[in-house]
Symmetry: C2
Subunit: 590 residues, 2 copies
Amino acid sequence: MQFRDIYCGEVKKEMVGQTVTLNGWVQRRRDHGKLIFLDLRDRSGLVQVVFNFEQNEEMFARAEEIRSEFVLTVRGQVVNRSEETINPKLPTGEIEVQAESLEILNKAKTPPFYIEDGVDVDENVRLKYRYLDLRRPEMQQSMIMRHKVSKLTRDFLDGEGFLEVETPMLTRSTPEGARDYLVPSRVNPGSFYALPQSPQLFKQLMMVSGAERYFQIARCFRDEDLRADRQPEFTQIDIELSFCDQEMILGMMEGLMAHLFEGVLDEQIPTPFPRLSYREAMERYGSDKPDTRFGMELKDVSGLVSDVDFKVFKQVLSSGGVVKGINATGCGGFSRRELDELTAFVAQYGAKGLAYMFVEEGGVRSPIAKFFSEDVLSEIVSAMDGKPGDLLLFVADKLDVAYHALGALRLHLGERLGLIDKSKRNFLWVVDFPLLFWDEDEKRYVANHHPFTAPRDEDLDKLETEAQNVLAKAYDLVLDGVEIGGGSLRIYRREIQEQMFKLLGFTPESAREQFGFLMDAFEYGTPPHGGIAFGLDRLVMLMAGKDSIRDVIAFPKTASASCLMTQAPSEVDARQLKELHIALDVPPKA
Amino acid sequence: MQFRDIYCGEVKKEMVGQTVTLNGWVQRRRDHGKLIFLDLRDRSGLVQVVFNFEQNEEMFARAEEIRSEFVLTVRGQVVNRSEETINPKLPTGEIEVQAESLEILNKAKTPPFYIEDGVDVDENVRLKYRYLDLRRPEMQQSMIMRHKVSKLTRDFLDGEGFLEVETPMLTRSTPEGARDYLVPSRVNPGSFYALPQSPQLFKQLMMVSGAERYFQIARCFRDEDLRADRQPEFTQIDIELSFCDQEMILGMMEGLMAHLFEGVLDEQIPTPFPRLSYREAMERYGSDKPDTRFGMELKDVSGLVSDVDFKVFKQVLSSGGVVKGINATGCGGFSRRELDELTAFVAQYGAKGLAYMFVEEGGVRSPIAKFFSEDVLSEIVSAMDGKPGDLLLFVADKLDVAYHALGALRLHLGERLGLIDKSKRNFLWVVDFPLLFWDEDEKRYVANHHPFTAPRDEDLDKLETEAQNVLAKAYDLVLDGVEIGGGSLRIYRREIQEQMFKLLGFTPESAREQFGFLMDAFEYGTPPHGGIAFGLDRLVMLMAGKDSIRDVIAFPKTASASCLMTQAPSEVDARQLKELHIALDVPPKA
């Protein structure tokens, strides 16, 4: 076998006259009488190869057998294309290679879909034949980009003195958090490992160990019901450092992002990134991961309508709810049907209705206008920044319903009205998250991030008395409305960690049972520390301009957590189960 | 909290007069009347800090409370030590820091062992308090070295055009190979994922996908009974490339090793590495991973003793066995007891006995000398390169027993006699492995490496007729008698892969059931490809001069596959098992 001396996509006009050896796959064959044209493809791109009957009949005959996706070695001279066959769309479009020798390394059946970008083929077929799907240039570019993001992340963090440390995959199950994937132990009958949901405990223990700066590009696992952008296993850029505060971490991570976007996409990202408190993000955008590439901010008109004799608003306000709205700028022409659609849309988020007002010259047109005085209407229009031709939309509901419904409606309208400048990259830190939220079902506090997040120093004395008002030293990084990372300063003193476990409903015994080793560790000189984790899949997806993380994962699983290529998961031998001390407990099918 | 502006170990004589801020742990406190000396430690090393009662009584009083492993911020001026207190053993031994401010960031209980190198403490205690064990400088250096090896591996492979691609951890169980760790699927009742024993199939599929050059530093899992140098999860530098031959791979990997040893240890490694065929390695060293840092090679004397009337040798030779020996140079003074010990040693490897001859001036002293003529004895001594004062040791047995017993005996004596030059690094390729071996228990051929290894082209026609003589395009990299990597060219044509599965006892149906997707993939234009995988744990262990891979793994497991720190594996809730459609099937304790 002869090996390439150059990649297909790198053959250049300057090489005319030189002889090159190429390895690659046949993109297509075209026959023109006594000439055969092949496009030969490798990871770098395409080049055209010509076989000439007049020059070598035997080789020409072999070339006639070649079909798409055959694997070849071709050796030949680089020549200029004739004027009329120059292809300006192709980097190698000015030249071609005049074949002098040909070796067919392997044959190929006709693939189930054509190997090119933008193929219209069912995703299940793409996943079944993933090895062919990954041959498509756009998928190869995704894999290359993912490699680059990982490489540049490591370069940056190595430069900042971070050590990559591999933490265990066979860990201990902890009930707090999402559902674990379990692994039965053969050696310890009746016991199970859990695959890590994140290396959280281990990275904190690395801080206790004095590693000072840790990172890991780590596989994590969550056995959740899968949504479009979730996978049972996903990859996290996991970072932790000691002797730091929030400013230090945020600044360093801005440096990482700037490094990645410059190195991978040649984009200059301005730093520092803007910051919003969680509270402000919710009030202005109805979301803790707002897309700030467009306006249409939420306004609160509760104060303006508190005296109005409109039953719906009155009831909501009297039971502690709010009336909030957004200005659908320029949507004054929306039809009844369109309004119904918007009402149905917000209903998905629990909103019981959607009130609307069309702003017109000199007034407001609305079925509920009659309940309002002219003055109040005019104050509302002014508060909503309404101009003639605008449509004002209101949700009167419990605060969180109003946030979520209007936050979603804002995104929906932003997309629909083309308000989002997709050429922008808006990075945003959301900070000052509440430490806890009250779980009405379980009648207890639940950690907003996780049980190791530190409360703000100034809120420490509220922990006993008004825990719901305690803010955390926690931060999320949002890019264009997608949360790409989150982290916090951690609790590093045992007494505060114990107080936290208590708030979360642990007894001293259950806390000890679950996290005893961590609480022990905290007694031996734990440095102040904190960290962050980025979702690599989502980050690469955004950088590659893809809509699904499946397009930046080599071998993803479906929404039912299966691999269509290997048919994993699968049944296993009874002997294997016996060795693992487990038996199937599958209910009979209905 | 104040943050360091310099690491402890980096405070230099040139900084005398400057004020520095340090963060770190207290190594020890020493009181000298109105002076308190602290050694403050961080990842970089130690520096001495002095508190002076005369200068600040309040701070001095707080310093008196400080104990080992407290976490501090100290700010102070760098000053020269007085002549008599200079410590030439410490990089910072010429200076000290005169404390001007002190903040105690965290307290510490007395650790269960002292945080310093070479502590004599039970490994189980070290593993239970791993976060303290990892604070010891030698463990920190191991973690730093591991990070560097990974980083430089990635730099090198990135430079050679390899893409790091993450392959799934939740894969499909395959019965060929070691025992799988299984993960029950909640969504697919009765089905299981397997954790990968290696990314073998996925990396080959990446080659089918045209990625051309793949690598991954990949976690792998094998549920085996653990030996001293095994872990249930381990890390592999996994590499695969297309359009290559063995020479290309071996040369590139020599480049990788040279890059690592230069970058991490500043050692120049001469390349190319020597090569031995499997057959020659076995014949000369009785091992397929020979330590070539010393001689004492095996010699075959079967031909010389074939006519001797010594029953033991005769029976062995007539039943197809061999008589092989090594020369324990200079061991002519070994006692009867020492010889008995050696006999017991080889018995562990199945040898039924150990014959010996002391070489003396003008003859041989041995209980079996009487069976041999003077001529034969002299020929044997000459063949064994025996000199007066040497001890010749012989095993007469089946070929593989003779190899293993004498190979092990050679290592044992080499170590005991101090023949191994530990300052040497002997890299060695072992090549031309047999493709298959015959499994007498299962009465079938088993792949020596794995079922995807390509036979040598010149041996293809032997596959049908004399499979046991077929050699593989396979290679192992050995460093100082430890196998650190192995790989092969792969089969890339479906018909040969099918022939291989048949030889391994698969029916067409069972091959299809297990590997159908791979065989399908091979039909769509698979390039010639091959690869290698290195054991990262072992490689780092050798580079760090450690005896156990546990010393280069942050959180290793014990021989019973447990984590003594987190108590994984553990029992889990009945609810969790129910969700996973499994039940315990643990036999009652005897």
